[in-house]
């Protein structure tokens, strides 16, 4: 099962965090810093899965952005690795040509993520279906 998903930049600043297991707000920054340290220090040729405490991290880098997923030991690392990519593809499809979209649309990124992962499980991977509700929301909000 997925324990959390983080989007972090190279400086280690968190751009998005979503926890599927309860972690106190006060403890999150430390966990995130630790996790990011673990992933950033890895070389490109090293494998994308890191063991961290009693769970594993799957990370994937997109230029300056890292996406790190904490998973339990029973999860299939490679399928999570590809899920991250699927997520990025969905984001790309939605925010086609606008910079800093992820930062300025934190709410929408969360809404997309909520469509894909719930309670630590991958619940939707079909890109059209992931985006359909959000597009509907956008349409309804237009008149404002």
């Amino acid at each position: 099962m997925i324990k959390f998903l983080l989007m972090v930049n190279k400086q280690g600043q968190t751009r998005l965090s979503k926890y599927y297991e309860r972690v106190d707000i006060g403890k999150r920054p430390f966990l995130e810093a630790d996790v990011v340290k673990g992933c950033l220090s890895r070389k490109k040729e090293e494998c994308s899965f890191v063991e961290y405490k009693d769970f594993k991290l799957v990370y994937r880098q997109y230029a300056a952005l890292f996406i790190v997923v904490g998973i339990s030991d029973t999860e299939n690392e490679l399928s999570i690795y590809e899920m991250v990519h699927n997520f990025v593809e969905v984001l790309d499809k939605y925010f086609s040509h606008s910079e800093l979209d992820i930062m300025f649309n934190l709410d929408k990124v969360h809404i997309i993520l909520d469509k894909m992962i719930q309670n630590g499980h991958i619940v939707e991977t079909n890109k059209n279906r992931i985006l359909a509700p959000l597009l509907a929301l956008d349409q309804m909000s237009e008149p404002h």
């Binding site: 899965f49 890191v50 997109y62 984001l91 300025f104 709410d107 309670n119 619940v123 991977t125």
Partner: protein
């Protein structure tokens, strides 16, 4: 970086520039969110961040309290609050406003309100109760978007106690016409199941409906529930297997709409989910498993595309295949798949391969064997994650034989990375399992090293954690069943508890004392362990409860017959009652300080000189005393003591070797001339000394001999002859190449796994295995090369025949090579000859020729008997046997049956033909012959049809539950034409060592117009047919000797001849009869090695250490398999009695 990532990078300009400052300019300066984000991006220190966020939170607080704030503004405020919380600053004042936004906002505002709620709150928050009415209202809304949002938040966070309030409405949504609503309703119910399973019990039937929903999304959503349900009680859902199999079949077959594809792979995550469900259903259930074999095979087959996602599916598929009831064909394919993973240059796949291996070796440790070298490479991989995963894998294959090496690897790893949580976890659990598994067989320095590792190092957090881990796990171990734990482990436990149990927060030394006392009460606890336990108690008895307990214990042990125990009990008694003294002797905090030990015992000097002056005898070390005893020819009660046979190679060589043997065997080594020879003086001395053992055998195994010489403390005694130590085999003297080192490592790591073991690896390292023949002692090396060639199976018949005739001609090696073709009587006779006439090959060659000729004529006679109606009409009768392994089908001509031997076997040693049941049906004659291949015993059954009619529907079945039999005939036998011979080849290896086994055969056939008939026969095979020489060097022998756990000692009769030393004669006799390999003979001792063919590959080794002792041969056998020494000993006995 993978190409996929690169492609994405080029496709994602929006993400690339995420953190560039340029982008920030686009924001409208009035946007508060924009300002916040800009501020956050520009932050340079934690302190600045704190200042910025505090300011932001104050601003948010002010705004949310203002009555003028619109819902639209509130939405932006919530996003800002989410940002603050994301950075770790609580914005609890905004929670209530998030709920308000969800209640009052419209569309996107409402969604953000719900989003903020799901991010801010968790199930136990009371705020959530305020949300229930909003959710209920939205669920009942006619606006689909509202319903969707409500269902989404419900499936994320909802107060458990309020489930009944909305359950009926959610349930109702299961039949909603829109798939998205049905899907979200299923996911909401899944959430309810997770937090309150009994509340949704009544709707299980509706889940089934969801599973059968026409929309794949709804079906996929229901799988989350089913995975959970089936995981908890697979029995209740076996009936779903067919549905799951059908669904997977359809998904794999590409029946889903295209947009479910991911990079043209059909719904990969759904496939993985289904495979997991199938694994739970099929686990330990053959019937259910059989239903899914086809679809699993299909999944394996279809997942061919070179894409990460495909490999993710394959990985899951392999896991499922190894979880469900096994099917050989599938397992094979899955294992092949793992092989591809492990060998992949892509690091992520390699990792997954190791993980898969780690999983599957739990079912069958042999699966790791084909990947030995890769595993060894991964052990030294630069990526620590790969390394750790490899250790995890090794941990799973730990057995009593490789435990030492694996533990050393673990310790090495731990030393390298002492600050890693996972390392502590891995090493901790490994050490536990290792101790409980192999505690009593491991060398004492392993636990010592482990304890030192625990004790060493500064008092850092990691060290404390490691120690605490040890204490905690040991306490829980002791609370369980302790009778099975090895003594060494108990000792380690006692020490650790004594030293570190004060680290436990809920420190209660009373509990630990009681646990320790229980160990003392255990009957099988050894005295050594007891003294460790008492030592630990001494450190622990701090509180009154412990002191009382200690007193009880002391009373019991202060009267012990064992002085050490008595002393420990006394110490405990005194120290437990005198707190002050105890604090001085065992300071609680200063235990880690290194104590200065006066090893010369100088404080006793005065006492000693006084005693000497008073006429006392000077002190002699135990070793000196023993030597004195030996010189006095006193009885030694321990025939073997602790000595290891190989220590002899450096320690005891007697001069009488010089007469009997050719000098090529033993090379002169002046450097070693002074070496430890005190052990062998006095010609007939048969006593084996224990000294030097420690020096020859270090913790790494066999230390270089040179070193042992230098270290030898005893003064060298000059021998009459300079002839001393056998030359080390080249592999030992050369600087080992890294490759060889790795192979050695592999051999020690994978020892005890299946049939491939250390031996096979060592064998592989050598260019040409030389089995069936001893090293040529005086003979021509050319001949030996040729003869070893002849054992290669892929030679043309012509070459083989040439070689064979060559062999029969006149070389020593021919006689060696052919030894096994002759009957035991002939062999023994020849052996005698051989032993008497070293270096006169012609005699033996002739003998061999005679023997072979004899058996040939014998066979001819037999053929004549069984083929009375033979006619010369067939022109093909002289056809040469086909050079391929298919059974040769041809008319029997003048040639003996042996000419029907497949070409690749004709050069090999074989037994004579044994007629089988020819009396049952005179027109059909069966005979059998054994061919001793290097890696298997080949049993040939010759079927001779003496009539004119063809036999149809031939089928030969060999059965024996102790043997592994596989047919190697190219094409299955169908018919045998009139007057022709058909040969069936089976390779046979033993499943487990047994003295003798009966192979039952059944040949069914049908004559034209006749009834089906069957001929039964049996063939007895003895262990010695499965024994092959094991060519190892003395050093390898020594390593193996240490790692084998099953041993047996027995005295055997010595063979005496006029010309030879009894030992040499006896060993030669054993060698020729049982195909053993004589590794070395030094003085009155000899070491011999062989292997038993078992499973595929090279088999299980058995080592013999023979020593002449009072006119008998004391034999000590060791092997990793328990039955082998027993059965082999029986044959040794038999062989020597017959001689």
């Amino acid at each position: 970086m993978s190409d996929v990532v690169e492609k994405t990078l080029s496709a994602l300009p929006s993400l690339l520039s995420l953190d560039s400052q340029a982008g920030a300019g686009k924001l409208s300066p009035s946007s508060k969110l924009g300002n916040l984000i800009k501020g956050i991006t520009e932050l340079t220190s934690k302190h600045e961040e704190e200042k910025l966020i505090k300011k932001e939170l104050a601003a948010i607080k002010e705004q949310v309290a203002s009555p003028n704030t619109s819902m639209r503004q509130m939405k932006e405020i919530m996003v800002r609050a989410i940002y603050c919380e994301m950075l770790g600053y609580q914005a609890s004042f905004s929670y209530i406003h998030a709920i308000k936004l969800a209640q009052q906002g419209s569309v996107l505002e409402k969604r953000v309100g719900y989003l903020a709620v799901s991010l801010f709150l968790n199930e136990t928050d009371e705020f959530l109760l305020l949300l229930v009415n909003t959710v209920l209202k939205d669920l009942q809304s006619t606006n689909l978007i509202d319903v969707c949002m409500a269902l989404t938040v419900v499936s994320q966070v909802f107060p458990r106690d309020m489930i009944p309030a909305i359950l009926p409405v959610v349930e109702e949504k299961l039949t909603h016409p829109k798939e998205i609503i049905r899907r979200k309703a299923v996911l909401a119910l899944y959430k309810f199941y997770l937090i309150a399973p009994n509340q949704v019990q009544h709707i299980h039937s509706k889940f089934r409906k969801a599973l059968c929903d026409k929309d794949p999304g709804v079906m996929a959503a229901s799988l989350h529930i089913y995975l959970q349900l089936i995981k908890e009680s697979p029995e209740s859902y076996k009936d779903l297997t067919v549905s799951m199999v059908t669904i997977l079949g359809q998904v794999v077959g590409g029946k889903l709409p295209m947009d479910f594809n991911y990079h043209s792979i059909p719904a990969p995550w759904l496939q993985i989910q289904l495979l997991r469900i199938l694994a739970y259903l099929g686990k330990e259930d053959q019937g259910t498993s059989e239903l899914m074999y086809d679809v699993l095979e299909d999944s394996l087959r279809r997942a061919e595309m070179n894409h990460n996602m495909t490999y993710a599916i394959l990985f899951e598929c392999v896991k499922t295949i190894f979880t469900v009831h096994p099917k050989a064909q599938l397992l094979e394919k899955a294992a092949e798949c793992i092989g591809n993973f492990v060998l992949s240059p892509k690091i992520n796949l390699k990792y997954l391969g190791l993980k898969a291996l780690t999983y599957v070796v739990q079912q069958d440790a042999n699966l790791a064997l084909p990947h030995q070298m890769t595993i060894i490479e991964c052990l030294d991989h630069s990526d620590i994650i790969i390394k750790r995963e490899t250790l995890e894998l090794l941990f799973r294959i730990t057995n009593a034989q490789n435990v030492t090496v694996i533990v050393e690897k673990m310790l090495e790893f731990l030393r390298m990375t002492s600050d890693d949580y996972s390392t502590i976890d891995l090493v901790g659990k490994t050490m536990n399992s290792v101790f409980s598994l192999g505690g009593d067989v491991m060398q004492p320095d392993i636990p010592n090293n482990f304890l030192r590792l625990l004790a060493d190092g500064v008092d850092s957090v990691e060290d404390r954690r490691m120690r605490l881990f040890a204490v905690d796990s040991y306490v829980s171990l002791l609370q369980g069943e302790t009778a099975q734990l090895p003594q060494r482990f108990l000792q380690v436990i006692s020490w650790v508890l004594g030293e570190y149990s004060h680290l436990r927060e809920e420190q209660d030394s009373g509990t630990i004392m009681r646990l320790l006392a229980r160990l003392l009460d255990q009957r099988n606890t050894s005295t050594e362990t007891r003294s460790w336990v008492l030592g630990a108690m001494t450190k622990l008895c701090s509180n009154p409860v412990s002191v009382a307990l200690a007193r009880d214990v002391c009373e019991r042990y202060s009267g012990s017959l064992n002085t050490v125990l008595r002393q420990r009990a006394q110490e405990l008694m005194i120290l437990s009652q005198d707190t002050e003294l105890r604090a001085r002797v065992l300071p609680a905090e200063g235990r880690l300080e290194h104590l200065e030990v006066d090893s010369s015992l100088s404080f006793l000097d005065g006492y000693v000189s006084e005693a000497l002056a008073a006429g006392a005898a000077p002190y002699k070390s135990p070793h000196q005393r023993q030597e004195d005893l030996a010189q006095e020819k006193a009885l030694t009660l321990e025939p073997y003591g602790l000595s290891l046979p190989v220590s002899l190679s450096s320690c005891s060589v007697t001069d009488r070797l010089t007469d009997g043997l050719s000098p090529t065997l033993l090379s002169m080594s002046s450097g070693l001339s002074g070496n430890g020879t005190e052990l062998s003086h006095g010609g007939g001395s048969t006593t084996l000394k224990l000294d030097g053992v420690k020096r020859v055998w270090g913790k790494e195994g066999y230390l270089a001999q040179q070193q042992s010489v230098e270290d030898a403390p005893t003064p060298p005694v000059q021998l009459p002859s300079p002839l001393l130590s056998p030359q080390r085999p080249p592999s030992q003297t050369q600087t080992p190449e890294p490759d060889q080192e790795k192979q050695q490592l592999a051999s020690s790591l994978f020892v005890g796994l299946g049939s491939h073991n250390s031996v096979c690896l060592m064998g592989r390292a050598e260019p040409a295995p030389q089995h069936f023949r001893r090293k040529p002692r005086g003979g021509s090396s050319g001949a030996s090369e040729r003869s070893s060639d002849s054992s290669h199976s892929s030679r043309s018949a012509a070459v083989d025949n040439l070689l064979l005739s060559n062999l029969l001609d006149s070389t020593t090696v021919a006689s060696e090579g052919g030894a096994t073709t002759t009957t035991p009587q002939q062999t023994s006779q020849r052996t005698l000859d051989h032993t008497t006439s070293n270096g006169s090959p012609h005699v033996e060659g002739k003998e061999e020729g005679v023997a072979a000729g004899g058996s040939l004529s014998l066979i001819r006679g037999m053929v004549a008997v069984v083929l009375p109606t033979h006619t010369e009409t067939d022109p093909q009768s002289d056809l040469h046997p086909a050079p391929h392994p298919a059974p040769a089908l041809e008319r029997p001509g003048d040639l003996p049956l042996t000419s029907h031997l497949p070409a690749e076997l004709s050069g090999l040693a074989r037994s004579e033909l044994t007629p089988l049941c020819s009396d049952q049906d005179p027109s059909l004659a069966l005979s059998a012959c054994r061919v001793y291949k290097e890696d298997a015993l080949v049993v040939l059954v010759f079927i001779v049809n003496n009539t004119n009619s063809t036999l149809h529907q031939m089928a030969l079945q060999l059965t024996c539950k102790e043997l592994e039999i596989s047919c190697i005939s190219g094409s299955p036998l169908k018919e045998v034409k009139g007057h022709s011979v058909s040969v069936c080849l089976h390779t046979v290896v033993m499943k487990r060592a047994s003295v003798q086994v009966e192979l039952a055969g059944l040949l069914s056939y049908q004559r034209p117009l006749g009834q089906p008939q069957a001929a039964q026969f049996s063939l007895s095979l003895s262990l010695k047919h499965f024994i092959r020489p094991l060519t190892v060097s003395t050093g390898e022998y020594g390593k193996m000797w240490l790692s084998f756990s099953h041993d047996l000692k027995q005295n055997l009769r010595l063979v005496t001849t006029e010309h030879q030393e009894p030992l040499t004669a006896t060993l030669d006799a054993l060698k020729s009869k049982l195909h053993l390999h004589i590794v070395d003979i030094i003085g009155s001792e000899g070491i011999v090695a062989c292997r038993l063919l078992q499973g595929e590959g090279h088999g299980q080794p058995c080592l013999l250490h023979c020593r002449v002792h009072a006119n008998t041969l004391a034999v000590w056998l060791r092997s990793p398999v328990p039955e082998l020494p027993d059965s082999l000993l029986y044959h040794c006995q038999k062989a020597l009695t017959e001689t």
